[in-house]
């Protein structure tokens, strides 16, 4: 395991708990980045210890703040409910008694909606502000982020032909962006759609580059999870 100084010295965050507050906020941020627009409705289904102690640890405020793109150290996190109401974002918290989808004690399912689309995501906070994303739109994924060191690119694309991602890899090579890890998973119900996560640790994509990748044929969307986490 590669440990950075700033895994120990940090993160700078709003209390009271690194896993229940900072981690929750990060899951919210990821959900919003995947949604790529302004949601009007946010539903949170809380599992495990998130369901029992979420009020005491301000997990609810942190999740909502993350969805509104606040960083973990933003003092506005305390007033997340009021700010959400001002912005016209409807929210709902549902503690679920049953076990979480993948049995981690701190798990949440976030569903973001507006008039045109909907995104759902399941994430767990695994301690010390580290998080893990396990489902996106009901497709199992394995995204783990430790203090913002793992920069990932999330690509939704068609299943066929099999070399559909080759032009995209070509572009990344042109930009000198190394790919440290790759994982492709296809939707169980909709066999034509797949989701690929690329680990581009250490490199950084500009917004224009992301948009360029999105224009390639057969690609539905490209989301860069680079600049989210501090």
């Amino acid at each position: 395991m590669l440990v950075s100084i700033f895994d120990v010295a940090g993160p700078i965050m709003v209390g009271p708990s690194s896993s229940h507050t900072a981690g929750a906020c990060k899951i919210g941020q990821i959900a919003r980045a995947l949604f790529n627009g302004t949601p009007t409705e946010a539903d949170f289904y809380l599992y495990g210890s998130f369901a029992t102690v979420y009020q005491g640890h301000a997990t609810d405020k942190a999740l909502l703040a993350g969805v509104m793109r606040f960083l973990t150290n933003d003092p506005r996190l305390k007033k997340a409910f009021e700010i959400a109401r001002e912005k016209g974002l409807k929210y709902k918290f549902v503690p679920v008694k049953i076990d979480s989808p993948e049995h981690h004690p701190n798990t949440v399912r976030i569903i973001l909606k507006n008039k045109s689309r909907q995104v759902s995501l399941v994430g767990s906070s695994i301690g010390g502000g580290k998080i893990k994303i396990t489902f996106i739109n009901d497709v199992p994924v394995d995204l783990e982020m430790i203090a913002g060191r793992f920069f990932s690119l999330l690509i939704g694309h068609d299943n066929e032909p099999s070399n559909i991602l080759h032009p995209l890899y070509g572009k990344l090579i042109d930009w000198h962006i190394p790919i440290a890890g790759k994982q492709t998973i296809c939707d169980v119900r909709n066999k034509k759609k797949c989701l690929t996560t690329l680990n581009i640790e250490g490199s950084y994509l500009k917004l224009l580059q992301v948009l360029e990748l999105e224009k390639l044929s057969g690609i539905d969307f490209v989301r860069s999870l680079t600049k989210l986490l501090k």
Partner: protein, 317 residues
């Protein structure tokens, strides 16, 4: 990988070989591993230092209680003790360190901005000890920054030696305990101790925190976390003093970390951040649970209270 270390023994070897203090090895390791420049690493640590100082300043002045009213008034009281330290048993430095540690953790409980160093629950010890000593010695800001790097180096060594800083895994010894060890090493470097003395101070401090359970009332990071940070600060100062006076830890730091993980393997889950054991299931703990509207503690966790011994009549059975 010239500056890569996997435990405290290796860290000391690198220090000796290159004739560098621990802080410089930590900076070079970060530069080497992540390809960052030195100013970048230092600037990021400056941000950490400033955030710590702001949290302390705010925590000392604020007296509002946390949401469920468990903590929030001790920092000011202890800070008042700095002025009348003539009638106190601890030195001025120690009292101020405790006040700062309380200020940081109370600020955390109030949902203020703090630095999780190493985690939110154990965030008070390092800033408390280092800032108090910094004021007492009137040392330079550069030294303060180096002390923070030394403290983080100890945290990295613990993590790399298969240790943990998560109370859910190893109890409070891994949060406040490791925080105390980090603070002891940092303050020893600030006092111009050798790398050996720094690591030795960390070992002395961590040895005293071994076996500490994580049993927060109602699962909140408030009681006993806040006051444990304060007393951890005084332990860190004591360990540093002993190390500077030439007392050596009989068990080296790496073995203390192994011992910590050994203990964690035998720890029951009820005392690992689940609020189902220890202080959390005392009558006061039950009152807090009730106030928060939490479900009652499952019966299997309650049976463990020891019964009084009263002869051999077996009437109780």
């Amino acid at each position: 990988m010239k500056y890569q270390f996997s435990n405290c023994g290796k860290l000391l070897e690198i220090c000796k070989k290159n004739k560098l203090p621990i802080s410089q090895v930590a900076i070079r390791r970060e530069m080497e591993l992540f390809g960052k420049s030195k100013p970048l690493v230092r600037n990021k640590m400056k941000e950490v230092r400033n955030a710590m100082w702001h949290a302390i300043q705010k925590g000392i002045k604020t007296t509002t209680k946390s949401k469920y009213g468990l903590v929030g008034t001790s920092a000011g009281k202890v800070y008042a003790g700095v002025k009348k330290s003539g009638s106190m048993l601890h030195s001025k430095v120690a009292i101020r360190a405790m006040a700062y540690a309380l200020a940081t953790t109370e600020q955390n409980a109030r949902m203020g901005r703090i630095v999780a160093f190493p985690t939110a629950g154990g965030s008070g010890v390092v800033p408390g000890v280092l800032f108090s000593t910094f004021e007492h010695m009137k040392s330079s800001k550069r030294k303060m920054l180096n002390a923070l790097f030394t403290a983080s180096a100890i945290g990295i060594a613990v993590l790399e030696h298969d240790g943990t800083i998560s109370a859910a895994k190893a109890g409070c010894q891994a949060e406040v305990g490791v925080g105390t060890a980090m603070a002891a090493a940092g303050v020893t470097e600030m006092r111009e101790g050798t790398p050996e003395q720094c690591v030795n101070a960390a070992a002395l401090a961590l040895k005293n925190m071994l076996g500490l359970a994580c049993d927060p009332l109602g699962g909140l990071v408030e009681v006993p976390c806040v006051k444990r940070n304060a007393i951890g600060a005084s332990i860190a100062l004591a360990a540093s003093d002993m190390s500077m006076l030439g007392v050596e830890s009989f068990v080296p730091m790496d073995e203390v970390v192994e011992a910590m993980m050994n203990i964690s393997a035998t720890m029951n889950e009820s005392i690992r951040e689940t609020a189902l054991g220890g202080l959390a299931i005392t009558p006061t703990g039950f009152r807090v649970r009730e106030k928060m509207g939490l479900p009652p503690v499952p019966k299997e966790y309650l049976k463990k209270t020891p019964t009084k011994k009263c002869g051999n009549c077996k009437g109780c059975n």
